[in-house]
């Protein structure tokens, strides 16, 4: 059995997660060089944790041949479109969601 076959679930455990579903978070505004999976357009935007996907090897390290350890917790975060784009043409109920790693998120009190 290879590793793909043994992978039963979409999600992995992430017992050490900092945020819970429903928590308000803000994406860090920082522009480090290198391979980053956090789109520029979402940096600085505030959203809500939609689900916890699990803990995965850090893609920012994997991209350069490192092992990606320690694992990083990955969340799906939901943002209102009118907050993401000042001139968004659609209604207030439209939303956009994406995956953000924990080290890119700050808590919103």
């Amino acid at each position: 059995m290879n590793s793909a076959e043994s992978l039963k679930s979409t999600y992995t455990p992430a017992p050490a997660h900092r945020y819970n579903v429903g928590d308000k978070v803000k994406v860090k505004v920082t522009f480090p060089p290198g391979h980053r999976r956090t789109p520029q357009y979402i940096r600085g935007k505030q959203g809500v944790i939609e689900r916890i996907c699990g803990a995965y090897p850090n893609p920012e390290e994997l991209a350069y041949g490192f092992d990606g350890l320690p694992l990083k917790v990955l969340y799906r975060v939901r943002f209102p479109q009118q907050h993401v784009w000042a001139n968004y043409a659609g209604p207030a109920n439209d939303i956009i969601e994406m995956e953000i790693y924990e080290h890119w998120l700050d808590p919103v009190r």
Binding site: A4, E5, S9, T10, G90, P91, M98
Partner: protein
């Protein structure tokens, strides 16, 4: 020079000498087979690297050319139809649909569809919410369920516009949604892959899974169109 691949390079080099300057879309050159449909110019850098890697792996006995061919057949002939089968099952079996929405990978495995490395999140269209999928950073796509992504999915146009004007893009696909329906865009930007579960159309009561599959197209499972009720 018994290796047939050498002919491939020779031919490509020949084209190059005649000034055939073709702009390559690297996204279209992931197939490692020399007989690719874009074989009308010199091979791109990634194509050459891919070929060289395959030759090395073959020379070391790690893979066989037949295995590559088999994989390409799966991508062309098997994988593109799996998504529709999963959705048809969800339409006829509410308990399965719930499990699919809870854990896409586990639900697919349950019906014998073994995804390789894909972590699948299925998102359901309802009368109040319409889902659509994009990958703004590259072209992440649930290949194990839908096969290779279409060219438009990989285009800069689609990737840049869906996130800020999804309704305009939907209209171009002929999908017009009232404002009270929430458009929920998913940027497939990291480790998860996404499948839209469209609403089952009216006038399909009592239809078998096999018959329902015929109503489902790839575009619906990316969320740019919706299935229509049969006449």
């Amino acid at each position: 020079m018994s290796n047939p691949h050498h002919d491939y390079y020779a031919r490509s080099h020949h084209d190059h000498e005649h000034g055939h300057d073709h702009a390559h879309d690297h996204d279209d050159h992931k197939h490692p087979n020399p007989a690719n449909e874009h074989d009308n110019g010199p091979p791109g850098e990634y194509e050459i690297m891919s070929r060289a890697m395959q030759e090395l792996l073959e020379a070391k006995g790690i893979i066989k050319a037949e295995q590559i061919t088999k994989r390409m057949e799966q991508f062309d002939e098997e994988f593109p139809y799996r998504g529709a089968q999963v959705v048809a099952r969800a339409w006829v079996d509410p308990a399965f649909k719930q499990r699919l929405l809870t854990d896409g990978r586990a639900a697919c495995a349950e019906m014998g569809t073994m995804l390789e490395a894909e972590r699948l999140i299925a998102v359901e269209n309802t009368p109040d919410v319409h889902n659509m999928i994009v990958c703004t950073l590259c072209s992440c796509y649930p290949r194990g369920l839908l096969g290779m992504p279409p060219t438009w999915y990989k285009s800069r146009n689609y990737r840049s516009r869906v996130v800020f004007e999804p309704r305009a893009v939907l209209r171009e696909f002929g999908t017009v949604l009232p404002e009270n329906v929430t458009v929920r865009v998913h940027d497939s930007n990291a480790d998860m892959r996404y499948l839209v579960v469209p609403m089952r159309p009216a006038r399909t009561e009592g239809w078998s899974e096999e018959r329902l599959v015929g109503l489902i197209s790839r575009d619906m499972l990316v969320g740019v169109t919706v299935p229509k009720a049969p006449e």
